[in-house]
């Protein structure tokens, strides 16, 4: 981090605001603007996006003058495991079904904990898979297959 950024949290928050605000304005140019009395789809988001970008700039500038704590450690491993567990579940749920999906999300995400143990995680996954099949598929009747078409069902 360059030394002129004295408030890194505000700096990056500002960058996010600036980025989203500008994106809203730029993408909004594809839509009809209209007038204040007869607003097109672009009007409100363009105004909001402009405001957000301004706030972003203000936050960035302010971060050069105000001291703030550094951003703590970013838990990259934990984040990666949790998010990929969710994505894997989404990928598996239609084709492979509830049981495989639950096993995937539970075991992969459980690895994010320092207290991960294979045996406990498999037991947990088995229990949750049984519960989900019983409650979500059988009892509530969600249209999710227990074992999906990938297994030739």
């Amino acid at each position: 981090m360059p030394s002129f950024i004295r408030h890194p949290k505000d700096f990056w928050t500002g960058i996010i605001f600036l980025f989203v605000g500008l994106a809203a304005v730029i993408i909004g140019r594809n839509y009809v603007m209209g007038t204040a009395g007869k607003m097109g789809p672009a009007y409100f988001p363009t105004v909001l996006g402009g405001l957000l970008a301004l706030i972003g700039v203000a936050a960035v500038i302010r971060s050069f003058f105000r001291d703030g704590e550094p951003i703590g450690r970013f838990a990259a491993r934990e984040t990666l495991l949790i998010i990929s567990a969710v994505v894997l579940f989404g990928f598996l749920i239609r084709g492979a079904g509830m049981v495989v999906g639950v096993f995937a999300i539970v075991i992969l995400s459980a690895r994010a904990s320092q207290k991960f143990k294979w045996r406990a995680a498999i037991l947990l996954a088995a229990g949750l898979a049984g519960f989900s099949v019983l409650v979500f598929v059988k009892l509530l009747g969600l249209p999710i297959p227990v074992f999906g078409p990938w297994f030739g069902a």
């Binding site: 949290k9 928050t13 009395g37 988001p45 203000a58 984040t79 579940f89 749920i93 459980a110 996954a125």
Partner: protein, 500 residues
């Protein structure tokens, strides 16, 4: 009398066997999830929301309300027993509640919390019944300009009462408003910000945002530093209060309720602010102020009464104006829209049985809390001790199945992952997700009212200042912002938020 006939109508609705059952189920589930580590009321409600979509509207709302105050009570239970407040509003309860528990008075502290909550809930329900009709009558006269100004005021107030940087909170609100606009534009049908993805054509479901930001984001943050919960006592006993205890908690409950009911109506951190304020007032005026911080029973009674009264009265703006005052109310509004009910003053007129049934059910739910929770404390204690590394994969799974079941769409699951990542980044940057969720829910409504107001006024922007009610609300919003920006008050505000 109107009030009695209204409450009678509510009783008729709330006392059907089905609705009683859903109320009980909601309170039970809410408490159960609320005592689990790492899940606040917002995440709890978001997680359980999909389960209510198939219910009839009134049952769904009754159950959700039950989940809300069940989760609140569950949060207080963990605050008292393990000194880990599940949510910001029970932070203060933990101070004296945990000290009482350490001295072997855990039962007494829990009973006090339950009784205080019940008394506060009763009074607040009556207030709700009294003040909702006139407020809704007033709101029925609102035109689009008034609604737009009201939303501005609501959003500003939520920002002013949020902790952390004001500028960042305003940014988060606008970010939420923008995200809320994704999808087809109501007026022209044009697809906005959908990146040509058909899955985004109907916009993003609020459950996805709430589960991602509040559910997943929290999980990752909790995993940063895993802690093991330890509890001094294995068994909680001595739930009965004696005469002296009752004498000591009576006045604090009354004061806490008054304060909480008043502050709960305010948008933003109503419940948290009120419990904090109630505690500091008691500490100042109590005869036993020396005991505060060392296990004073008043220190549990007052904030619990305040936070529960605040939780109840926060329904007032939601039910009468359709304006959410906190993220939980934002979720309730989302749930109403999914059920096909347009939140606002017309709910009371068009669906009186739903409106009054919900209000009466809140009182019944508070009653359930007291009769259900104290005897079941053994179960809650066991649930508190569930190790987090077994719990979070289960939470994640429930969130994923819940989000998938919204539209049977795997895209929604991926989107939840994305919001989870964003939620964690926000947490790292101290950017509050609550104002963003409010903005997200309000966004489309706000645009619609702005459009209509300017269309009716022939694009004269001064319309917002020419209509007296609208002008008053905008002036209040500007004043609120100005007051926070005054250097002296700004310092006070920062101090107030520092103590939690």
């Amino acid at each position: 009398m109107d009030l009695i006939s209204h409450l009678g109508l509510g009783l008729d609705t709330a006392l059907t066997l089905t609705n009683l059952m859903y109320c009980l189920l909601g309170v039970f589930l809410g408490t159960a999830v609320g005592v689990l580590p790492g899940l606040g009321p917002t995440a709890t409600i978001a997680m359980l929301l999909p389960a209510t979509f198939t219910l009839p509207p009134i049952s769904a709302l009754i159950m959700l309300a039950g989940i809300y105050y069940g989760a609140q009570y569950g949060g207080s239970t963990t605050a008292i027993l393990v000194n880990l407040p599940g949510e910001s509003s029970s932070v203060v309860t933990a101070i004296d509640g945990y000290q009482m528990a350490r001295k072997g008075h855990a039962g007494k502290a829990l009973a006090t919390a339950a009784i205080a909550s019940f008394c506060a809930g009763t009074v607040a329900t009556l207030l709700l019944a009294l003040f909702a009709p006139p407020l809704a009558d007033l709101a029925l006269k609102f035109g689009p300009a008034e609604y737009f100004s009201l939303m501005v005021l609501g959003l500003v107030a939520s920002v002013v009462l949020a902790s952390g940087s004001l500028l960042n909170a305003i940014g988060m609100v606008i970010l939420g408003l923008l995200l809320g606009l994704i999808g087809s534009d109501v007026n022209s049908g044009a697809a906005r910000y959908t990146f040509d993805l058909p899955e985004l054509a109907d916009g993003i479901n609020f459950v996805i945002v709430a589960m991602g930001m509040f559910g997943l984001g929290e999980i990752i943050r909790n995993l940063e530093h895993e802690e093991t919960r330890s509890m001094a006592m294995k068994k909680v006993s001595g739930l009965m209060l004696n005469k002296n205890d009752f004498k000591r908690i009576l006045a604090p409950i009354f004061r806490g309720t008054t304060l909480g009911a008043a502050l709960g109506i305010l948008p933003g951190g109503g419940a948290m602010l009120s419990s904090f304020a109630a505690y500091s007032i008691e500490k100042k005026i109590s005869k036993n102020s020396g005991e505060f911080g060392k296990g004073a029973i008043e220190g549990v009674a007052a904030p619990e009464a305040a936070n529960n009264a605040g939780a109840q009265t926060s329904f007032i703006p939601m039910l009468t104006l359709g304006i959410p005052s906190n993220p939980v109310m934002a979720l309730m509004i989302g749930a109403m829209i999914i059920q096909g009910i347009q939140p606002g003053p017309s709910v009371m007129v068009d669906q009186p049985s739903l409106f009054w049934g919900l209000i009466v059910s809140m009182w019944i739910g508070n009653f359930f809390l007291i009769v259900l929770n104290l005897p079941m404390i053994g179960l809650w204690v066991r649930m508190i001790m569930v190790p987090y590394h077994h719990l979070f994969p289960a939470i994640l799974m429930f969130c994923a199945i819940g989000v998938f079941s919204l539209n049977n769409s795997d895209f929604d699951v991926y989107l939840m992952g994305l919001f989870g990542l964003f939620g964690y980044i926000c947490a790292k940057l101290d950017a509050e997700p609550a104002p963003m969720l409010l903005g997200f829910i309000i966004g489309p409504m706000m645009e619609e009212y702005l459009r209509r107001a300017l269309l009716l006024s022939h694009s004269n922007p001064l319309v917002f200042f020419e209509r007296p009610i609208s002008a008053t609300m905008l002036v209040m919003a500007i004043l609120a912002l100005a007051v926070v920006l005054l250097p002296s008050l700004r310092k006070k505000r920062e101090e107030a938020f520092k103590e939690d």
